[in-house]
Symmetry: C2
Subunit: 286 residues, 2 copies
DNA sequence: TAGATTGTTAATCGATTAACAATC
DNA sequence: TAGATTGTTAATCGATTAACAATC
């Protein structure tokens, strides 16, 4: 999930489109563009909702914030709606973006076709590694971090993508903001702190997997009714002020190993080679 | 933003942790692991909330769903909380994952350190291109799509990552599900249809940028009070059943070009080389 | 006109947050 | 004990959705 912090309330002043609606407009747009390619002239809220994977009442409600672009008894004109949503999202103008951090992910982003096709133009690729400078990635020569401020001001860039390691992200962020960037898409696994007026959205690959793991675990436990119901019976294990010296013991005390009771038997395709109690990772990802 | 569809209500039966809370647990975990690395013994809800970028009341409420793991007047024991959250998320066990589609993005994912460090293990890389078969990526030889079913059953994989082009995603998804996968992380820009009981989470790079663009556009318009307030004065432009032949006209009629009035003047760093009315993209991203 | 489908209402649900009693 | 901080309550807010009148 992406976390967005905005400097205005969820329902913005002008015409007041709820944040949840804004987040769905790109989904509708994609579905509409697919219909447009197939030259489908009109679409009903039911059909479009199904294509976008949402409830049709929600879709109609969402569209009602944009205006009355449908026709009762008929549906929505595909081309007209594509245009109205594009306009609402600001995609009818050109948005130069810079990508900072041209590792595997940065290169993947540079090559991602979805950017160019929706009004986003990769204005520059920036990396701190001098060995990369000048090397073309997706046909664009990588520029050195030293040039960051110049690139941003000369190209009028207002959107920056951070694909650096976590350790460099805040520093890069600060420079981007100082150079005039007001929207940041952050792929580094860190919380960025930004001044008022700067939007940050976060894409975190590891977090998505962790959420899936949570549900996956629940599915496995579900086949043994009541197995997950057991509430940890012991109170807090240690008196926290003394916890520093007993950290490892706290984590590995007897009660904790109880948790595995009755799990993992229902679906034996899981956990092929893990021990009964997997070790916790000690390091943060890069 | 990622869209998750689950086969149970947002508040699940056993111990009932709200979906919004589950989505934040990885954030807390990351912040806690950073504290753990610095050997910080305890942390208050205020400190931790600040590190995770959330409200402290929300954090305490979130933790209350897990149990009473804090100490009044003191705070939370870092190690103990790391362990409890890890356990809740299912990260104390090993989760083998397969990545399907080893293009730029797939390779980036294979190399992403955040997977391995949190109980996720890349069990296999799969691609349909025979030229890639056997070629190592992130030290793991790519296997051919033909082997998909075998790989999944032999490794007991329950989580699949789809990083293929949009056109191949549903087909890959169907095969993954048929082979026993019950959780899918989808990077392809398509809505996947899956049977009941299969979770899909979606990461969409282009959508995140579009949401940023929306806010960016609003920021620009804001500097001219009232400029964005103007409501489209014209009713629906065409009688939709006849729209097929007039599609382009609909999109380009006089009223639509009005929308640009008064925009872009406040912040002239924007739109360095776009025309007054950028063309809409006609194609879907790969 | 009859059928279809939008746009909107209102009820419901879930999430957020300030406030504070409990308690270490 | 006094100070600090949790865990929980309750109010508020935003999002979802069924239902249906409006209307093409």
């Amino acid at each position: 999930m992406a976390t967005g912090r905005h400097h205005r309330p969820a329902t913005s002043r002008s015409r007041g489109i709820p944040e949840a609606t804004v987040a769905r407009l790109p989904l509708y747009l994609r579905a509409l563009m697919a219909l447009s390619e197939r030259s489908v002239p009109t679409v009903s809220s039911e059909e479009l909702a199904s294509a976008a994977g949402v409830n049709s009442a929600k879709l109609r409600k969402d569209f009602s914030y944009l205006g009355s672009y449908g026709t009762r008894g008929v549906g929505y004109d595909v081309e007209y709606l594509v245009y109205q949503i594009s306009r609402e999202l600001g995609l009818t103008q050109d948005w130069p973006v810079v990508i900072v951090g041209i590792g595997n992910l940065g290169a993947a982003l540079a090559n991602y076709g979805g950017f160019a096709s929706r009004g986003f133009r990769v204005a520059a690729l920036i990396d701190a590694d001098p060995a990369l400078t000048g090397k073309p990635v997706a046909g664009i020569p990588v520029q050195h971090t030293d040039e960051l401020e110049t690139i941003i001001s000369e190209n009028g860039v207002s959107i920056g993508v951070i694909a650096t390691p976590a350790g460099a992200a805040q520093q890069v962020c600060d420079r981007l903001v100082a150079a005039g960037i007001t929207s940041i898409l952050n792929f580094a696994p860190t919380v960025l702190s930004v001044p008022e007026g700067v939007d940050v959205r976060k894409v975190d690959l590891s977090i998505e997997l962790q959420i899936l793991a949570f549900h996956e675990q629940r599915k496995a436990g579900e086949e043994l009714p009541g197995a997950e119901e057991e509430v940890d019976p012991a109170p807090h294990p240690v008196s926290p002020p003394a916890a520093t010296v007993t950290k490892r013991e706290t984590k590995r005390d007897g009660r904790d190993s109880n948790r595995d009771s009755g799990r993992g038997t229902g679906r034996d395709a899981k956990r092929p080679d893990s021990g009964p109690d997997g070790d916790l990772p000690a390091v943060m990802p890069a």
